[in-house]
């Protein structure tokens, strides 16, 4: 795979909805071996982590009530929320620092709909995505 092919595959997996790494593995695998290649790439990416996380899930269901474990996971969960805030800030700063086009209002509306109004994601997405795409279409 050349650099250009990689960038192309990456752009395509960013374009698709759903988990990006999963999409990447399918597009990558299908380039080499069609359906079988896609399936092998997907299984290679998801299979081993799935076994590990399922074992952790079994342990959690059995020992999740243990007080000490609960406290440790609480600490990690708070940190994980912080990491997500940092990646949101990194994504938001270029968009909000540049001149205000349609981007920030759309992002803020999506946030309000899901985080504050607690509307179902499909409604927010189907209501907002067509408007956002239309705004991008007419931008230039």
């Amino acid at each position: 795979m050349t650099n250009d092919e990689f960038n192309e595959t990456f752009a395509l997996s960013q374009f698709l909805p759903g988990p990006n790494t999963i999409n990447f593995s399918v597009v990558f695998g299908s380039r080499f071996g069609g359906v079988a290649g896609a399936a092998v790439a997907l299984l290679g990416l998801v299979g081993p982590p799935l076994v590990i996380v399922t074992i952790l899930g079994v342990l959690y269901e059995r020992y999740g009530d243990v007080e000490t474990l609960g406290h440790i996971l609480s600490g990690v969960a708070s940190a994980a929320a912080g990491l997500l805030i940092a990646s949101v800030a990194k994504m938001a700063s270029p968009m909000f620092m540049r001149e205000w086009n349609s981007g920030p209002p759309v992002a803020i509306l999506a946030f309000i709909g899901v985080a504050i109004m607690h509307w179902p994601l499909p409604y927010v997405f189907l209501g907002l995505a067509p408007i956002a795409v239309a705004l991008a279409w007419f931008k230039r």
């Binding site: 600490g75 929320a81 805030i85 940092a86 968009m95 992002a107």
Partner: protein, 175 residues
């Protein structure tokens, strides 16, 4: 709500598979809404714990759906959840990849991609808010969140170190 939980898991994650622009992290609020608020499958604390476990595990973030599925319906639940979350988007990816060359430079393709960027940003921001609300039930927990956010934003520290420190603080009963 007497329907089969496997069916509920399947329909939840199959829809998210196709609507989660921005990846698994954009889908967290909807998973939380259904699993905690609507179906009462678990508490806020359990949901936050599962997110923490999925972050500690190797591999893509999307594997949190296996934890939710396992909690709801055992191994069958885990299998249904991950299948529903992965297969629809993979089928779409496969067919789009075969026709990509025909429309990759089309104006609508660029507009769709650019239009989705702020939507996914808003959804991931909502994920951060939902998780912080679920995880931070005292001042110390909120401080860990803020300190982690600042550290990750301004430095390049490996997140595993942050998790280790936060876990130790939890072990010390600070959160």
């Amino acid at each position: 709500m007497s329907q089969n939980p496997l069916w509920t898991l399947f329909s939840l994650f199959a829809v998210l598979s196709l609507l989660a622009v921005g990846g698994a992290n954009a889908a967290i609020p909807e998973m939380h809404r259904v699993a905690v608020d609507v179906m009462h499958w678990m508490t806020d604390k359990q949901f936050a714990d599962m997110f923490a476990i999925s972050q500690l595990s190797p591999g893509p973030n999307v594997i949190i759906v296996a934890l939710i599925g396992y909690h709801v319906a055992g191994l069958a639940g885990a299998a249904v959840a991950i299948t529903a979350m992965v297969v629809p988007t993979c089928v779409l990816a496969y067919f789009v990849a075969r026709t990509w060359d025909r429309f990759k430079d089309a104006r609508w393709r660029v507009a769709v991609q650019q239009g989705f960027v702020p939507v996914s940003l808003g959804l991931i921001a909502a994920s951060a808010a939902v998780l912080a609300r679920a995880a931070d039930h005292n001042v110390y927990a909120a401080l860990i969140t803020l300190a982690t956010a600042a550290t990750a934003f301004w430095t390049r520290v490996n997140p595993l170190w942050v998790f280790l420190i936060a876990g130790v603080l939890g072990f010390a009963r600070l959160v």
